[in-house]
């Protein structure tokens, strides 16, 4: 399936006039088993795409909530291998697109071609490497392309017109637009502007563009969607909800937040 699964998902949502809801979870937080349960809950409650976050010791693009979750996850045995295993188990239960979300050093340690093979075998559809700009990792990109695995590119508010073609070169699946100059979990993202930028990038690239960073609930999700972005990513808010819930209640808290986001996105009335 791979890239095709992503493409089918976005076409179907577009036909229904819906915005994709993308759930990010740090795999291994608070435990690998609970991550599996939370991820499954997210998919069953209405997330369209799942991002499986690989914990890394030095997550420089992440804010304090996800950084702390990664720290705990590593101590609980979380790593790239565990994330692949969670993906494999989820694939037995869901046919929705799943993307691995990782920093580059765990990829290098695992082996680039080995990862492409293992990700494909686990039923993943794409990989997003936060700290791998298009100038780097050519071999990895080539291997992924051969395996029909989407390497999801990032675009940022600082990305100028001069860089855009390089970012889009060979891009498949979707593009991740970072809403703000900042780290994950920021409360101050200019989301309406990000939604407009995503829409414009969509028109130029012909690919679905999703917006992430700073979307913590239905109101903000709708603000982005109203501008025409094809998807919204919710990460820190889910990780925070997991952290706040009592053991045994975590999957439920994820399902509740996803359901609220889904309802917010699917409401057809105007946006404040």
């Amino acid at each position: 399936m791979t890239i095709e699964r992503i493409d089918t998902c976005f076409s179907k949502l577009a036909a229904e006039g819906k915005t994709a809801l993308i759930a990010y979870l740090t795999i291994g937080y608070p435990s690998i088993e609970e991550s599996f349960e939370c991820a499954l809950a997210a998919l069953e409650a209405g997330a369209d795409v799942l991002e499986l976050g690989v914990p890394f010791s030095d997550p420089t693009a992440d804010g304090p909530v996800i950084a702390a979750a990664m720290y705990d996850a590593i101590r609980g045995g979380g790593n790239l291998r565990a994330a692949l295993e969670v993906a494999r188990r989820l694939r037995e239960r869901s046919d929705k697109p799943m993307v691995l979300f990782t920093y580059y050093n765990p990829v290098l340690a695992f082996g680039e071609e080995e990862l492409v093979a293992a990700a494909t075998a686990a039923g993943l559809d794409g990989i997003l490497v936060v700290d791998l700009p298009p100038e780097e990792g050519r071999g990895f990109r080539d291997a992924a392309a051969r395996a029909q695995l989407a390497i999801v590119p990032l675009a940022a508010p600082t990305t100028g017109a001069d860089r855009e073609p390089r970012i889009l070169e060979g891009a498949r699946g979707f593009v991740y637009y970072v809403s703000v100059t900042g780290v994950t979990g920021t409360g101050e993202a200019p989301l309406a502007e990000a939604g407009r930028q995503a829409r414009a990038l969509q028109d130029r690239s012909g690919l679905p563009v999703v917006v992430g960073f700073g979307i913590d609930g239905p109101t903000k999700a709708r603000e982005v969607a109203a501008q025409g972005a094809r998807g919204v990513v919710v990460g820190t808010a889910l990780v925070r909800a997991i952290g706040a819930a009592a053991p045994g209640e975590r999957a439920r808290s994820v399902a509740d937040l996803i359901a609220a986001l889904r309802a917010g996105l699917d409401r057809r009335d105007g946006v404040a």
């Binding site: 790593n79 340690a109 936060v130 291997a143 590119p153 990032l154 100059t181 900042g182």
Partner: protein
């Protein structure tokens, strides 16, 4: 699967920003345009005569350059009483720079550049606090606000430098995440930079990080080696057999090596062995690390089999870092430079010896370079069949380390009187 095995497809060689297979620019997309801007500014501004003239003026009249070259006969005889392995020993005195270490060369250059780029704010990471003090100093003299990230462990063990930074008007932010040392300070500085990239210059303190930092910092530090070479030729009539420097991120070492890279001079970097390489509690990324990506650069790092960065250990805050600048990784791989190690204990003993024989209290970072002189002299003299002539980069003074040095001194006194 270890990280030292070559990865699948070799990256094309001689790419800009690469030293062999090392270097590059591994950061989030948000920062790439800022790095491109900095790269252009490096070419167009820093290399231009006007900037060079202004910066040289600062180095001469503010920093106090050129720094002296001191001949250290008493120390040489203490290390090798008969003069069989160690002939001459020369010290390049970066401790006599304003603020007490080589770090000021780089900080002044970068803050001057930031000012020309119209940046309104300076941030830095610091380990020993020397780079933090240097950046706070440069920001003060150029009238820019400055914030310095410093691991909470280092805030404690380098307290005098925290006081200096605050006195200079900088805000010191204690970093409580991870190992609470230099690596985590750099993480936090990168997070700040990604957030404030449009207004802020990140003054990286070593020849590490994403391109163009390793090149920029080397350019700003090569004054050390350029001066040393001229002084050595004038004073001793010839080049030394080898030059020696301690290696944290690698800025004083690359600054010292630069002038000798194309000469028939051996290059020795000294890494921190902490409690011993075999204990795993060390900071020797070159000697005992593997290939990986840390803080924006593909280089030699300390990481486990999952690719998680391993916390480094060294008594010296400035060497307590699990990576190294990419050019050192390339120099090690090509064999052009050699890297050896010195332990916490050896560094403390060396600091004591240098103080007693030469009247210089050196930084704990620098003490590692001194601690390796004996083994380096042995190696070089053996291969040459005559006593070695060595030049060492005395990267900084030890005032900041007095509490640690004192504790060691007292425990020694107790041992000898017991």
């Amino acid at each position: 699967m270890t990280q030292s095995e070559p990865t699948t497809t070799p990256e094309p060689r001689r790419r800009p920003g690469y030293y062999g297979d090392f270097g590059g620019r591994f950061v989030a997309e948000t920062l790439i345009p800022a790095l491109t801007e900095l790269e252009r500014a490096f070419e167009d501004v820093v290399r231009a005569p006007a900037f060079q003239a202004e910066w040289r003026q600062l180095l001469e009249h503010y920093v106090g350059r050129p720094t002296p070259l001191t001949r250290a006969d008493r120390l040489a005889r203490a290390i090798d009483p008969e003069g069989r392995t160690l002939g001459e020993l020369w010290l390049k005195r970066e401790d006599l720079c304003h603020t007490g270490a080589h770090k000021i060369n780089n900080a002044l250059g970068q803050v001057l550049l930031a000012k020309k780029l119209g940046k309104a704010r300076i941030i830095a990471e610091t380990g020993a606090g020397q780079h933090g003090v240097a950046t706070a100093t440069a920001a003060a003299v150029m009238g820019l606000p400055c914030e310095v990230y410093m691991g909470a462990v280092d805030v404690e063990r380098q307290a005098p430098n925290v006081a200096r930074m605050e006195m200079l008007g900088a805000r010191v932010i204690a970093v409580e995440s991870g190992s609470r040392t230099l690596k985590d300070a750099m993480n936090e500085a990168l997070r700040d930079w990604v957030t404030n990239v449009r207004t802020t210059h990140y003054c990286v303190g070593s020849a590490a990080g994403p391109h163009p930092y390793p090149e920029l910092v080397k350019e700003l530090q090569r004054v050390i080696g350029d001066e040393a070479k001229e002084q050595l030729l004038a004073r001793s009539g010839s080049l030394p057999d080898a030059v020696v420097a301690c290696v944290g991120g690698g800025s004083n070492a690359i600054g010292m090596f630069g002038a000798f890279l194309d000469e028939d001079v051996r290059l020795f970097g000294v890494e921190a062995a902490g409690e011993g390489i075999a204990t795993g509690r060390h900071a020797a990324a070159i000697t005992a690390g593997s290939v990986g990506v840390l803080h924006g650069s593909r280089t030699l790092i300390l990481a486990d089999e999952d690719g998680q960065i391993i916390e480094a250990h060294s008594i010296s805050a400035g060497l307590d870092y699990p990576g190294v600048g990419p050019e050192h990784a390339a120099l090690k791989t090509s064999g052009r430079a050699e890297y050896v190690v010195a332990s916490d204990r050896e560094a403390l003993e060396a600091a004591e010896l240098v103080a007693r024989t030469e009247g210089i209290i050196v930084a704990l970072e620098t003490a590692h370079a001194f601690a390796a002189l004996g083994q380096i002299a042995e190696r070089v003299s053996k291969e040459q069949g005559r006593p070695a002539r060595l030049a060492l980069c005395l990267s900084g003074r030890g005032d900041k380390d007095l509490a640690t040095l004192r504790r060691h001194h007292e425990s020694l006194t107790r041992e000898t009187s017991a």
